[in-house]
């Protein structure tokens, strides 16, 4: 017998553990972290269970299926239009009521759901115990308790999926009924909808359309415009919505949301037993102090500064150690190879390929790996939303709100995910504004240059000054962009997840998968860049380029003429600038001013190609190119300015 294929989707609120479950089930590495809104793109994977081939999709976390954000519309259309065989609704046991609000909406969509009651361990810690049987009875669907981070319950979850899919276990989903005033009107609209909009009813349940129309859902209303009878139905629904609003004195979506929450609250109360009254826990104390209106800021500064200090100390230590290891490798390889290969080939291999690999290992990796570890710790602890809370006011000054601080912090790791992470912002305009400032944040690759050049040869204080300057720049440019791009800033509404102890395993997996990604993507480019430079040098072309760029590089920026080459190649990857520079001239030969100017220019001048591509995908090519051009112009301007100012200061 051929077992059929199954398509299942993971849906639920943000930060409930969907990605952890997805990773457990598929063995893949979706980003996991402790802040709401990580999964912005749906991820897909396949797994095999009891002979079934199961295709599983991780949907972005959302709180509702209204038409508030793109993610909400995409998710509900996925559920309604693509009709997956089963939806696993992941529910956070420690916040049952809010999660059930979403469950009720899935039930309105008449989706085939089973409940994954996740984080039961965390709920237990809060003194909350949930009666699984009772919950299953109340909702009419299976409920499987799980602890995703330990993998407990995953087998039962899959068994339940298969049992439901094979018809062995039947779903009798709760048909939620709301208060009389609402119900009367929903049913009246439903009748009209099923009579007049036959075609739409093959995709969406008539009752769901009716509820959405009563809620004045703009997306559904838009769909009706294409129907002959659409206007009639819309007008009727509008009339009833106004009636409802008269009775309750609230906008109709608020009336209906209240009803849903009322039902969610009733179910949650019935199935929850509070065992121990929650006491003030360590997490709560930590929360209070890290979001404190005064203390919070020195703590934030301390966290960021010690982050760089740690990376600097760890990086220098590793870098020196590795350099020592590789010191004699090149001489040895050269002597071996020259015995049987022509000089030019030996040079290409030795100064190209080998120098690239050694540069990547001794210059880039030592700073990047500690960085990834610290970033993973920040992400998993739940500190990022606290930082967002503290920075809300300041972010408003540049037309954004606190949440934008999260992609900004991620930007210190890599601009690409940071750019995509800007999707946690609610409007198109805010996403672009956030994207514009996020690419100016020095990513780990730029940190390699800043710490590996300025930090190492001048001192940590100079490197930190560069970071501080960058923040000021981000603020000023953000402010200008905010003034140029008209629009009303949106306010902050963000869930504050609890603090969690980061799991060693998760930190390790995340650091490893990012490092692996770095090696796979960056090393070929670093090697190719090194070979290309060696080829340029051997062919004699180098001097032409150096000559042509010299007015700018030497004249305006006051850098040694050879630095033009690394700066050009740096478009590929930012750490390449330093690696190539070290291959061309001894780093110690640069003056302090030259080091600062070089790092400053590298920090700002253009997002690398991967980032430009990511920006283009998020905001379109025109905007992406505009960002690139602005950044190049700015970098050259500031670089020249810094050269002159610093020379003046040093002279006196």
């Amino acid at each position: 017998m051929v077992k059929p294929r199954l398509r299942i989707a993971l849906a639920g609120n943000a930060n409930v553990g969907k990605s952890v479950i997805f990773n457990q089930l598929t063995g893949l590495n979706q980003v996991v972290g402790n802040w709401p809104g990580k999964t912005v793109e749906r991820a897909e994977g396949t797994l095999f269970f009891k002979g079934y081939t199961i295709r599983i999709i991780d949907l972005p976390g959302i709180y509702s299926l209204s038409a508030f954000s793109m993610e909400e519309i995409v998710s509900r259309d996925y559920v309604a239009v693509e009709k997956p065989d089963i939806i696993i609704n992941v529910v956070d046991a420690s916040a049952l009521e809010r999660n059930l609000y979403f469950t009720l909406q899935l039930l309105e969509l008449e989706a085939p759901i089973i409940i994954d009651l996740n984080q039961v361990d965390f709920a237990a810690k809060k003194g909350v115990r949930i009666d699984v049987e009772k919950l299953s009875e109340a909702l009419g669907v299976p409920v499987v308790p799980t602890v995703a981070i330990t993998g407990s319950g995953m087998n039962e979850l899959l068994s339940t999926v298969v049992a439901v899919a094979s018809g062995e276990r039947e779903l009798k989903p709760l048909k939620a009924r709301y208060g009389k005033e609402i119900e009367k009107r929903v049913q009246a609209i439903e009748k009209l909808v099923s009579a007049k909009l036959l075609q739409l009813c093959t995709v969406y349940p008539a009752r769901w359309i009716a509820i959405k129309l009563l809620e004045r859902d703009t997306d559904v209303a838009g769909k009706l415009k294409n129907y002959e009878n659409g206007k009639e139905v819309l007008d009727y629904a509008e009339k009833l919505a106004i009636e409802l609003e008269k009775i309750h004195g609230e906008p109709s979506p608020v009336v209906i949301a209240s009803e849903r929450y009322g039902l969610a609250n009733k179910i949650a109360k019935e199935v929850t037993a509070i065992e121990a009254p929650p006491r003030i826990s360590l997490e709560q104390k930590l929360d209070a102090i890290t979001t404190h209106k005064i203390l919070g800021y020195p703590i934030l500064t301390g966290v960021v500064v010690s982050m760089f200090a740690l990376i600097f100390i760890g990086g220098n230590f590793l870098s020196a150690g590795l350099e020592f290891l590789f010191e004699n490798l090149s001489l040895y390889v050269e002597s071996v190879l020259s015995s049987f290969l022509p000089r030019i080939v030996v040079d290409l291999i030795n100064n190209g390929i080998l120098a690239g690999i050694v540069g990547g290992i001794t210059i880039a990796l030592p700073y990047i790996v500690p960085f990834y570890i610290i970033l993973a710790l920040l992400e998993d602890s739940g500190y990022l939303p606290r930082a967002a809370f503290l920075m809300d006011n300041l972010m408003h000054k540049i037309g954004l709100h606190g949440k934008a601080f999260i992609p900004l912090m991620l930007g210190y790791g890599c601009s690409v995910p940071a750019c995509i992470g800007c999707r946690i912002m609610e409007t198109e305009r805010e996403r672009f504004l956030a994207g514009f400032v996020v690419v100016l944040i020095p990513c780990a690759a730029r940190t390699v240059v800043i710490l590996g050049l300025v930090g190492r040869f001048i001192g940590l204080h100079a490197a930190l000054a560069l970071y501080a300057f960058d923040l000021v720049l981000v603020f000023v440019l953000g402010r200008i962009a905010f003034k140029v791009l008209p629009g009303e800033p949106v306010g902050l509404i963000m869930e504050m997840p609890p603090y969690r102890k980061p799991l060693a395993k998760n930190i390790f997996v995340k650091t490893w998968s990012r490092t692996k990604g770095f090696i796979y993507i960056a090393f070929p480019i670093i090697i190719a860049g090194s070979v290309a430079i060696e080829a340029l040098a051997l062919s004699g072309f180098m001097s032409y380029i150096v000559e042509a760029a010299n007015p700018l590089i030497g004249g305006w920026l006051g850098l040694p003429p050879e630095t033009g080459i690394p700066l050009i190649f740096g478009i590929l990857r930012k750490e390449l600038t330093l690696i190539l520079l070290s291959e061309l001239i001894p780093l110690e030969s640069l003056t302090a001013i030259q080091m600062i100017v070089f790092s400053l220019v590298t920090m700002i001048y253009i997002p690398c190609i991967a980032t430009i591509a990511a920006c283009a995908r998020e905001f379109g090519w025109r905007k992406a190119l505009a960002i690139a051009v602005i950044d190049v112009a700015l970098a050259l301007f500031l670089g020249g300015l810094a050269y002159r100012l610093l020379s003046l200061v040093m002279a006196t």
């Binding site: 609230e250 949301a257 209240s258």
Partner: protein, 100 residues
């Protein structure tokens, strides 16, 4: 200006219901029951989706400095609201009771 004094009080409680104040006027640690929210359709609906519907009990955990955001607890979850957002939510303060 004559009407000057009326404006702020009206802003404090646009629907003029007795005993209702804005969420930002609660003290840290104080509880209240949501009366209503004002503002654009999208905002009011979003707040309702996050659980801030009329009749629900909220606790103000803390406020940020200089008209900063507020952190509240509603329906068992922590929520951060920008100052502008929070000042559009109106609550009826509850008599202090032993803190849980």
């Amino acid at each position: 200006m004559q009407g000057g004094s009326r404006e702020p009080s009206k802003r404090r409680n646009p629907r003029g219901i007795e005993g209702v104040i804005s969420l930002t006027s609660l003290c840290e640690g104080e509880r209240g029951v949501v009366a209503y929210a004002v503002g654009g359709f999208g905002l009011v609906r979003r707040l309702a989706d996050m659980g801030l519907t009329p009749g629900v009990e909220v606790k103000l955990l803390r406020k940020g400095s200089f008209h900063g955001p507020v952190q509240i607890e509603v329906r068992g979850v922590g929520l951060a609201l920008g100052y502008g957002v929070a000042s559009k939510v109106f609550v009826r303060p509850l008599k202090a009771k032993p803190d849980g």
